[in-house]
Structures are given as structure tokens and as C-alpha cells.
Amino acid sequence: MYFQKKRCIAMLLAGGQGSRLKVLTEKTAKPAVPFGGKYRIIDFPLSNCVNSGIDTVGILTQYQPLELNEYIGNGQPWGLNKTRSCAQVLPPYERHDKKSGWYKGTANAIYQNIDFIERFDPDYVVILSGDHIYKMDYAAMVEYHEKHEASCTIAVRNVPLAEASRFGILNTNPDNSIYEFEEKPKKPKSTNASMGIYVFNWKVLREALIADEDDASSSNDFGKNIIPNLLNAGHKMMAYNFDGYWKDVGTIDSLWEANMELLGKDPEFNIRGDERSKIYARNSALPSSYIDEDAKTVNCFIAEGSEVYGTVRHSVISTGCTIGEDALVEDSVVMPGVVIEPGAIVRHAILGENSKVCRNAVVGGAFEADEKKNISVTSKGAVVEANTVLLPGEML
């Protein structure tokens, strides 16, 4: 193996279960959940790394890693398999000193992989999570961090005051340095929410991780422990404002919304981009899609390898799907490999990978514009039998 000193490497926390995605993450880790027709959630932070010139990424996995590991493989789709680059999957492992076992928290996961990081002798380590849909230039954030000679820089965005108590809130001085961090405060003093994207000086982080590990009362978490501890120790910490599109897709509703926000001529999140902001994905080697003479395709995304014979409106159809004759798909997210048989109706639904809606079955329903939309969900490989109904908000 050849190791080169790196100015900056990234560690991507991809071990979470994502339990709020319910049946969609029963057998799949959240970062491997399909998104936007041909992507998976992890493609966004990984592609951001590549587009930011970060060519060494450690990916910490724990929950249901089979598919995620398969998907990442050797990192080839993101160009991370070259002589001087890597996408290294880092599962929990057994150590001689008993400080091992499952990753106890986000900080412990990094702690257990100090050896991996040390091999590259980095100046900076970017900590990322596999939960969000966004495009961001991490290089600009590292520049900012370096310019301000901070120990840690945290990406923040403005959130509505009403929602601020759901986030880690950063209270800052006029120069954007952080004087206080509050995890999910009841009475937030500001609306600067942490995006869970950190740049650390590696030496500072390394010490903090070791100290944190020795503290038996710690929950070994970045938000709860590492950040407050560094702040209390008087380290210079900066907030880095980001105002681009950023969406937590940790719930059924937000995952559905984020997919819908890709649609339109001038979408809220434009996934298209030039070579520097392209999102890369593992390719499925399927032919181009086919749109039949009786098909109707209105305001929708349809990925390669799909065959459309019915009607698709305001939906995202992923790779390798079949939409049968006289079937109707509306306001839905159809994940890869789904078959919707003739005459079936699917509305306000997320259909999990390779699930099947048989003839004349009905999934979900229609809602008024101001009504809460209860999304129906099928899990991977589920079958909605012919002539049956999956009610709005139901899961199979």
C-alpha cells in the first residue's frame, strides 16, 4: 500500500439505522436508501467530497451494512479507487484493549479508527454524515477554517425559529466565532442550526477523542460531548454559513418531499450540474428507457432502464421500473426495479426497491393542497396483491 500525507481527508458516518424511515431501512442502512431515480443518499456526500478535491474517505458502517458495502465497493463510481485515493469502509472491529465493540456513538466511531486517519497524517479531518441531500464545496469550508485559524468549524444554516429546538443551535459572536452550543434547546437563542458537518484540526480532534473515550460518563457523541468540551476548553470554533439546498431525509415525509423537490422546470434542488458539481452513482448497466405510444409522462423524472406504458405525473421513477398499461402513478417515489402492473393506481406513495403493485391494486390516495399528505410505503420486495388496497399512510 502507498500512503501519502493528505492535507484533508473525510470521515463519513454511515452507520445509523435511520429508524424513522421505518420499513425502508429494515434491511438497508439509511445512506443506501435510493434517492432521485438513480442515486442513493450516500452519493451526495461522496460526490461532494470528490468535487471538493477530497480523495480519501473513510466510511463508518455498522447497521445493516451488506448493501451499503456492496454499493460503495472499491469506490470506483466516485473515482476513489486510484493510486492516491480511497473509499475505505470501516466497520467496527475487535481490539486487544477491549476498547472495541459496536460504535457507541459518533465520536467513538472516529476514535476507533484513529489508526486509519493517522496513516494519512492529515492536517484537517472533515466529519460528514450520510443523512442529507445537498451539494456543498467542502474545500471552501476548509479554506474558511484555515483562514480563521480555528480548531473546529461547523457548517450552519438558518432554520425557522419554530423548528430551531429540533437542532443543535450555535450561538455566535459578530465575527461568526461560536461562544455557545446548545443541543436541541427548548428556548433557542438563535436560528443557526448545526448541519452536522465539521472541519477539525486533526491534532485537536485526536486529543479530544482520546479524552472523551476516557470519560466513562460521556455518550461519545460529537454534538453532546466533543463540541461542548472543545468550546469549554477555549478552542477557537467558527460557524460556516451555508445557504444552499440542504435536506434531512430522515423521515418518510422528508424523503418524499426531497424527491418531489427535484421536479419542475426550475426545481428547488437542481440535481443537474456542471462537471464540478455532478453527483456520481454506481451504474446499473441498463438500456435506455422506453416510453410507449399510449404512455403519458408529465412533470416527472424517469431513469434509464424503465418501461412506461401507463401514466406518470409528478413522480420520480427510478432505474429499471415498469409502469404497465392504464396504470397511474401520481405524486410518488418509485424506487429501482419496481413493477406496477396494468390498471394499478399509485398516489402519494414511496414504493421500495423491487416491490410490486399487482393488477388493479390501489396504493395511497389523493389529498387537498393544504391537507397533510399521508404517504403510503412498500418495503423492499413487498407485493401489493391484485385488486387489493394499501390505504393512505399504510406501510407494507
Binding site: 438513480k38 455532478k278 438500456p287 435506455s288 416510453i291 405510444e293 412533470n299 423524472f301
Partner: protein
């Protein structure tokens, strides 16, 4: 079984479409280049040592194939090699397949211990199980197996190599560059033979100033009774893209489900260079009927019976029918196209009307603005 693949990139026969590319690098089917079929067929059969023989305009081909990674041919042992003319400081480029093999002698001689060679062209597209062909070749005990297809000869198309079988499956006639009647089989330019036999024959032919595979080796030796030929009749879809008319017709035949299913069989996927385009966006008012559509397009106009490559923009009010639109082309508002092939990166300005015919579609060259 150690098998070596040799792909011939083929010289251009499609006019403006192959001005600056080989037949191998001609775009096909929305996201492919023609060579993807030969490469994927070899790759699916487990062949891990492939040479690509190319003579002219191979820049786009090399760009497309790169290290062969997408086809699993990026190997330390074997893998993929480009065999270009002048590579071995010979004075001349080559005239025929046998001569080209002679200039690539080191590839044949010093490669891994391959026992058999599969030779395959890039102008005839199919999804063929080459292991079956190889097994049939070995079982036949003949010197060479020619893969051939019925139904291509029609009394007007000239075939490179035509074969007629007798009642017992033996060969009644072989002809080269022949406008064959319908009862002849057309060679798909896929040959299987032992490496030892091929090397002997290449040497023998070159020494006698003979260089043509079909005419000298197959026909010549057969006439002398000096070769045993096994014919493997292929039942699946074979697309002979040897003229613009055929290329146009074959491309649009992908709209037929049975053709598509055959050519892109799920068990033998066709691999190509990945481009990572976003899924195609279908706008509020688009009307798309009977079309094959690749990723990355923005569709707001009307299309019927068309094949759209990646990243095509079809603006509002544009109408296209029976067209092939290659990568990155833009069709402006209210434009009207029928029987047209747009090469890559063409811009059709708003309101432009271009009408070709089925047998001779209008071709707009790469990068042009009309």
C-alpha cells in the same frame, strides 16, 4: 478455457456519421457505442484478454474504452490492448484482417496461454452467448466456426461473406462481396478458431501476399478443400449496421419490445462507459410516444418514434418524428424534424424545419448549428 478475443474496429462506411470515428465508436441505442456489444459479449463469456484492432480515426474509440474497466477488462494479466497500425515499426498500415493480425503478432504470440481465438466485428450488433459458439466449435472438430444469420440476405444487400448450406447442414456455397439470394446465410463476422491454426494461417497467407480473411482464408481454403468450416446459425437479433439506411432502421427497431429484450438480455447486460447523467426530466406539456430515451434529457416538446441519446434538450413546441438525436443536441422551440439524424452537439434553432426520407434520412454533422 483460455480464450482470446480480437475485436475489429472496422473502417467507416456510414458517410458523415463515421467521418471522424470508427464503426466501433459509432453511438448506438441512446447510451452505447457499437463496440460495447462486442466487448460485452466477450466479457460475459469470461474472456479476459482482448485486443482491439483499429486503423483510422480511433481517438474517440480510445477515449470511450479507456482501460476497459467498465467491461471488467482492466487486468494485470491479459486485459485489453489497442492494436494500432505502425505500433511495431512496420512500414505500412494493413490491408486486411490477416495482415492486421500479422502486425499484431506479438499480441498473439506472447499473450497468456490462450488456446482459442474469438474474432468479432463492431458493425454487426448482437447479444450472443459466445460460450455456446465456442462449445459448438469444439464439438464440431472443424478448423473454424463462422457465426451466421438467416434472413439478412435478400437479393439486394451485398454481404461480405455469404454461406449456403445444403440439406445435411454441410456447406453448398461460399461467396464474398456477394449480393446473395435470400437462401444464403450472412456471416456476422464472428469467427472461432484455435490460436495455433490462426497463427499458422496468418503466416502462410502473408507469405503468399494474401491478407483478406473472408476471401483468402475462408473462401480460398474452402475452395481448395483445405479447411473444415462449421457454421453456427444464430437465432437472436443481429443488427447489420453497414449503411446509413440500415443503421437508421435498426436503431429505431429498438422501439419494438422483442428486439429490445433480445439485444439487452438481462443475463448478459451490455456495458458502456458511465456518464452519470441525471434521470430524464419530462415537462408539463411534453408528449412522448414510442420513444427510446437515455438519461439526462430535458423534454418539453413532442417526440414520436424517436431515439434520444443522453442530455438532449427538446424545447417547447418542437416536434420530432422518426429521428435519431445524439448526445447534447438541442432542438429549439417550434422546430420540426422528420427522418433526421442529429450527430452529437447539434443545435437546431427555433422554428427550423428539416424533413428527410426513410431510406435517406438527413444527417446533421457533429457540432453544427442549423
Amino acid at each position: 478455457m483460455n480464450v482470446m478475443g480480437i475485436i475489429f474496429a472496422n473502417d467507416a462506411t456510414l458517410g458523415e456519421l463515421t467521418d471522424k470515428r470508427t464503426m466501433a465508436s459509432l453511438p448506438f441505442g441512446g447510451r452505447y457505442r457499437q463496440v460495447d456489444f462486442a466487448l460485452s459479449n466477450l466479457s460475459s463469456a469470461g474472456v479476459r484478454h482482448v485486443g482491439i484492432i483499429t486503423r483510422h480515426s480511433y481517438q474517440s474509440l480510445m477515449n470511450h474504452i479507456g482501460s476497459g474497466e467498465e467491461w471488467g477488462l482492466e487486468m494485470e494479466e491479459g486485459g485489453m490492448e489497442f492494436l494500432t497500425p505502425y505500433a511495431m515499426s512496420t512500414k505500412d498500415s494493413y490491408r486486411g484482417k490477416l495482415e492486421s493480425l500479422y502486425t499484431a503478432w506479438d499480441f498473439l504470440e506472447y499473450g497468456p496461454e490462450d488456446e482459442y481465438v474469438i474474432m468479432i466485428d463492431s458493425a454487426v450488433l448482437s447479444n450472443i452467448d459466445l460460450n455456446k459458439v465456442l462449445a459448438a466449435h469444439i464439438e464440431s472438430g472443424k478448423d473454424i466456426t463462422v457465426v451466421a444469420k438467416a434472413g439478412i440476405a435478400n437479393g439486394s444487400k451485398q454481404l461480405d461473406l455469404a454461406l449456403k448450406l445444403d440439406d445435411k447442414g454441410g456447406i453448398a456455397d461460399i461467396a464474398v462481396d456477394y449480393v446473395a439470394p435470400a437462401d444464403y446465410l450472412a456471416s456476422m463476422d464472428i469467427f472461432v478458431l484455435s490460436k495455433r491454426f490462426l497463427m499458422e494461417q496468418v503466416k502462410e497467407h502473408i507469405s503468399h501476399n494474401l491478407y483478406h480473411m473472408d476471401r483468402d482464408l475462408v473462401l480460398g481454403l474452402w475452395q481448395k478443400g483445405a479447411i473444415g468450416i462449421n457454421v453456427f446459425e444464430f437465432e437472436g437479433v443481429a443488427m447489420f449496421n453497414e449503411s446509413i439506411e440500415e443503421y437508421f432502421r435498426n436503431s429505431l427497431s429498438l422501439i419494438k419490445k422483442d428486439v429490445r429484450k433480445d439485444l439487452f438480455g438481462r443475463n448478459h447486460p451490455v456495458f458502456t462507459k458511465v456518464r452519470d447523467r441525471v434521470p430524464t426530466y419530462y415537462g408539463e406539456d411534453c408528449e412522448i410516444e414510442d420513444c427510446i430515451i437515455a438519461d439526462g434529457c430535458m423534454l418539453e416538446g413532442e417526440a414520436e418514434n424517436c431515439l434520444l441519446f443522453r442530455q438532449v434538450t427538446l424545447e417547447k413546441g418542437a416536434e420530432i418524428e422518426d429521428c435519431i438525436i445524439m448526445n447534447d443536441s438541442v432542438i429549439g422551440e417550434g422546430a420540426e424534424l422528420k427522418y433526421v439524424i442529429l450527430d452529437k452537439n447539434v443545435t437546431i434553432t427555433p422554428g427550423t424545419k428539416i424533413i428527410g426520407t426513410k431510406s435517406s434520412p438527413v444527417i446533421i454533422k457533429r457540432g453544427e448549428t442549423v
